[in-house]
Symmetry: D2
Subunit: 480 residues, 4 copies
């Protein structure tokens, strides 16, 4: 088969991003295998209708696997139609049955059912990737469910949360994505066998007198393929389907972008809380060999953007497929479908690698909490003072005063003096003993029910994944 190398343009999805499995699904070879599978399923049903003999069918079955891309390309160069070229190639290989291929069919009867099968294969692989990631996340959530750390809003230190709780946010988003991808997968339907404009007129004619209706033939073929058909179609399955699939992938991309961006931020030394795993021989900055750049997370963010805008192209295909179909979808579908799946595949693999190898610097987490957390702790202190009879407004002012002073200390790089200074102010200790003040200022415990809720999501992540064990999950094992 003709090869292509780096003297020509090669997409990074050919050689750089995406798993070998996903690349194989989006190869021409796989596409042609699926075409042949549809052709043989059609012939099988037509054999049952008496239109194709046992020998003819056997001949077709015998050569179903003989994809010969070389020969097909030769023919295509002449006739400029890839499916018809493959059809002729297949027919040439079948001296007995070749003439009975494609009876009553239009190109898209073959192509669009194959496309639906390929979408489903790819969605299954994506689900497996999601499940593996969810399993990895699940493990970390369990481990860190009660580990306190600082939460940040507006990229500003806020109140404490727990590490597991934050991770549960990612898991919850990804569970919603999993549901959307699974829905898209379950909703995938083929065109069925409906001919040039969707009416099945050619099959109706062809089957006259055979005792089999076009609808029965369609039902047999689709059962053979293990695929449902849309009740009505134009020449093609509704292009809305592509859009739904790509939208589900775009959702995954959004969730992974957030996860990766959070990591990029927390890996920054002034935060220093997280780091993606780093290979021993990997070259970072040439100028600063110790530097740890979050390049895997950056890659996720980069690819996520690419996926974000692909649904809009599929939208256009759906919205502009005029009357019984126009061909303005074909060229870009060759790009957007594989690209969306391969990019998502790469992102999922990267995200899993990051989550599994996530380096958590518990010292720095504790340190940031000690530095910035006490400010947040003034809120429960204020409540307690009010409950103890102090004037809320006055106490608010006292606390504010101490807070501002503490803030200046922090800015100078000193430890946060707030707890101590408040516990030493008698305007406060009039209402609350200094021990109580100190206890209230211990922010580690000020995390509400975050640990319990994190575990709640972890359970779902794990069970969602367990349901999908057949496609490769590992979390069930861990739990047993």
């Amino acid at each position: 088969m003709k090869g292509y190398n780096h003297n020509d343009f090669l997409s990074p999805f050919t050689w750089r991003y995406g798993s070998p499995e996903m690349r194989r699904l989006w190869s021409e070879t796989n596409k042609r295998r699926l075409w042949r599978r549809v052709w043989v399923a059609l012939a099988t049903a037509q054999h049952h209708a008496g239109l194709i003999s046992t020998d003819e069918l056997a001949d077709l079955q015998a050569h179903q696997g003989d994809v010969d891309f070389e020969r097909a390309q030769e023919i295509e160069a002449e006739i400029h139609h890839d499916l018809m070229a493959e059809l002729r190639t297949f027919a040439e290989q079948c001296p007995t049955g070749g003439g009975k291929l494609h009876l009553g069919a239009t190109s898209m009867d073959i192509e669009d059912n194959a496309d639906a099968l390929r979408l489903r294969q790819s969605l299954d692989l994506t689900l497996a990737g999601l499940d593996a990631l969810l399993a990895a996340l699940s493990e970390k959530i369990e481990r860190y469910a009660a580990t306190p750390c600082l939460a940040y809003t507006h990229i500003q230190p806020a109140e404490p949360t727990t590490l597991g709780y934050r991770l549960a946010l990612y898991a919850q988003d990804l569970l919603a994505d999993r549901q959307a991808v699974a829905r898209a997968r379950d909703d995938v339907r083929g065109k069925g066998l409906k001919g040039a404009v969707g009416t099945a007129a050619s099959y109706t004619k062809l089957l006259e007198g055979t005792g089999m209706s076009a609808a029965e033939m369609e039902a047999q073929v689709m059962a053979d393929l293990g695929l449902e058909a849309w009740p009505v179609t134009s020449q093609v399955y509704p292009r809305r389907q592509d859009w739904q699939v790509l939208s589900a992938l775009a959702g995954v991309a959004a969730s992974l972008h957030k996860l990766a961006f959070d990591l990029r931020l927390l890996q920054s030394p002034p935060f220093g809380e997280w780091s993606e795993p780093f290979g021993a021989k990997q070259v970072g900055s040439s100028a600063m060999p110790f530097k740890r750049n979050p390049i895997t997370a950056e890659k996720i963010c980069s690819l996520a953007r690419l996926v974000r805008d692909l649904p809009a192209v599929a939208w256009d295909n759906a919205a502009n497929s005029l009357l019984e179909r126009t061909l303005d979808d074909s060229a870009n579908r060759r790009v957007i479908l594989p690209q969306a799946f391969l990019a998502t595949d790469e992102m999922l693999r990267c995200a899993r690698r990051i989550v599994e190898g996530l380096v958590v610097d518990e010292d720095r987490m504790a340190q940031n909490l000690a530095t910035y957390g006490p400010f947040a702790a003034t809120e429960p202190l204020l409540m307690a003072l009010a409950r103890a009879g102090a004037d809320r407004q006055a106490m608010h002012e006292v606390i504010r005063e101490h807070s501002l002073a503490a803030w200046q200390a922090v800015r100078r790089g000193e430890p946060n003096p707030l707890a101590a200074s408040l516990a030493a102010d008698e305007r406060i200790t009039t209402y609350l003993p200094d021990g109580d003040v100190r206890a209230l200022m211990t922010v580690e415990g000020y995390v509400g029910d975050a640990p319990e809720r994190a575990i709640l999501v972890e359970r779902r992540a794990c069970s969602g994944e367990r349901a999908a064990e057949s496609v490769g999950g590992s979390c069930g094992k861990r739990l047993s």
Copy 2:
């Protein structure tokens, strides 16, 4: 309340597009009503916990409806925070209970539950619009299920189909959209009551000793609001939710764009098959007063494009909401959420008007079928000839010859002579009597099982709608 007029910028969604109901849902007044509803629900639960007295609660309930936008704007001008300004306005109105509003809450506890309620209100209105459109479509499908017309692929005449079958394609897409919108509606969840970073720490503190946990309080509030809560959240509900909602609306936009574009094409006089209803006094082209421009359909296509790209903005909000939330979503959410709903609303109303009043020119449909259909009929003729023992290749050539001649006649504006000329060629009549040839060339019947399949989808459109009768459907009635 301050008014705005056309001396200033007014969005077309304020005065030109969208229903009064949808505009009201996206008014500041409705937003503030919902805020107050959440505040009172929170106070009610806290009353059960013993934190708020019966009198205090009664005071809040008494003033729940007194939205005073003027006053709130005055306060906002000072403090630059719209929710806190409304809170102070509400509190001012409640001399007894005002001080007990918002206990333990963070702004987004109020805002995001209100936003979820508003999303659900708007999705319900959208579903009602979809159902009304599906009912209208359903009626037309039933009526035209077996009416033959020409199908077009590549905007080229192809084989026959039926008008009802084509309409069923739209209905099928819209049913898929209905499912997506209904899923989005059912998936809408509020933030719950989780405080500044999602941990419910402030509520946990607040409720200490009351015998009510933060989770219980949340459950009571959400039951009161009739809304489920996300198990975990950051300061806000996951922004992925906005994206899912806008994606569902974008799907509707795609389906309506296709419907409208098909109409724009078939309303073109060289086709002349369809026309949108046209008001008596409406001014078309000033130069040609009889001209029928498909301006309603063009408006749908125009607005559809606007909706297409809005999910990408919501995607960004989801993907970039760093750590426990950043505020980079706020400003654009004020635009994209109402815009998506109002544009969809307008499109649905327009589409319904078009479908209900669709002008079908059955004469022109028959004429186009007579002109271009016979070419398609050569396919079953060829099959019949082959079955009758003729050489397929030779017959193909004979038919091609006649077809090309017939094509020239058609191009000159003459009636299509193909059936007659084939029935007169003895290379053909050797195998098939001329009556059979003429019968095979009668294309009206060459529509396979299109009528039955159209009805199949019609049933779903109607029952999908019937299920939703409570939101205003009418199809159930028609059927009974």
Copy 3:
């Protein structure tokens, strides 16, 4: 005039974002003023051709300013065509000349020239906003050109740079944007007077025997309007023009997004280098009153995303305006054009406020540089050691050893010991005296020619602005 208030949907661009000037430009009133200006310009040229009498023209001129939106709305409710309704309104006001309005014209002859004028007005206002921002930036660049601070790549501390140099990066991007906006402004052309399909056939007929050609009439009208016309048009000016204008605005949005995001990051206390100005009474987090959230910068990022996707809608209008024009552009243009300008306007105002009031914490900048800078300084040290005869590979290892130890100290929150520890290692001082080592480790000076280059850009920012002084710049003054 009918007013709208917050009981209905009001776009945030009506009441929340954008300057009064920009809102006025995008009001219906301004649009109608421009329509009338085009009508009168047309009548004036036709007066010169002898088609309109002096009295008739005087009547039209006398009522040019009497926009009466109420009356026009009444008529539009009947005829569903906004421009024709305004035309009748204007004509009603002119008993003498009213009948001579719009002679030979098609709606878009009026509308599209007015739209071009409005684009130009809005682009001028945008340029003024850009110039004001550039002037503010210019001042800061000059002030901080040589102020050293840490540069960050991958959000990781890297080598030193200067604050002015970083600001010059924004200025350089904005200068490119300024050029794009100015090009778009200068490229704006009107439709001219070309009638229903662009051929000027109606004018040619109308002017027969007057001695004035359609081209001459067009030239007079356009000279009157101070606007060039496209040589050829369909019924409308090429919709590519809208796309070019919105693309230029999207560029501004990208540049401001970067500026604002950088600020949001550096305002985070772990960095703590920058802060946007903060109003005295502004309410931040209710839980932590001292918190400084970068809400203005967050708003910029939020609105920037909105503008990013608007060119794609304009692209669609251009790409799908079939044959001599389809109306699928109209509805969305009412949204995307004002939205792009108003959002950009708001962002520019916010950015200017931020830059003018930028709070720079020079202490924290110096502290961060002292903490992370020494690692970068090992690069010139290594060069100097190699030059002094040391083995590069060996020295690299020694430095790496010290760097890792220093890194651990930094992680613990201690001052960076690297300079001292290297200057104390005799494997190093064998080649370089410890004073030289310390001097090399003084990173403040390791900023290459950043100060000079920053000033280079500052000059351009200022002179670019000076050229545009007529639209309101202030930088020229400062320099004189």
Copy 4:
């Protein structure tokens, strides 16, 4: 070199779309050639500074062309950094000078200048493609400048225009695109030599005592590369540059989409005016061998959509490149840059093929004009009647009556009787002799100054192209 085949995913841009020249520009091989060119240019300048000996430089120059992708891939597998791997590969090949490669440089000093060179190469090729298309268009405009045909607005027959005038609309859009692409090309600047964060600090140190400043070194290198440098940069050239380039390509895509869509419409048999050239052996619909599907134009529309959304990805890269750069641009730039250029390249080639081989059916054009044109001609008739003293309103009604009757005839497929029936109505002939009525109804001449204006644009298309002759135009020749 490792080859890839259709058992794996291969992008359609590798084997299906785009010219061999454009593919080569976007190959890894070309990229590495450009990297080496930058390295050698840097070494040359450093040789002038005395840092590299003549022998060392000669060694580097001798091996500049020896790109060895195999070896580089081996190294990259180990160190995960493609540029550093190529650097080591190059260095290995140069026993004498290898150690002197990359002195003082950071990866992006090499990569981004090479990228700028590659953008320029690709923009030049794009300009050549645009010029070839403009030359083809120019020829057709000249030929058909005065050929009357029907114009369509709202896809409804409107007034006459000329074929050349319509073609001039495309040419005018493409000329604007040409200007944007040329501006983007001329605006391309490299990063220059500015080191890790843009300050040129490492070069400044390196060059100490050599008498050459960093700025001088940069100037020498850039002069050698024939490329200007941005005055200031972060670690990379401003990512706004990518956005500007992709925006210019998106503009081309919009213009070609319109051209192709118009053709798809007019190739529809009910219009039948245009057809794209059709290869002899090409397989159309299998069911209707004579069918002419506009598959080349459909491909253009399909690819155009792909290009439309790519600027938004580049926008994100620009808007999110935080502080002195983040790496979230890298992965998607490997996709969007080649994809935009290769898709544009393919579209330009297809458009040129279509325009050069455009099949114009002048008979059908005349026929459509005769059918629909007379309605438009009633406008000048009405003017003439009014001038002749008839009551405008009354005549409007008379004409309307005849028009509606004529419209019914047209709908039945009969020739348009309007001219005859008007010329026979004495309510009309009272004011104008029937000969004059018939003359006024001769619509062919009602094209205003369309022919002259078409030629005006043709001249620009041709001269714009002539100016660019060096990149391969042919139109100049034709004119001489």
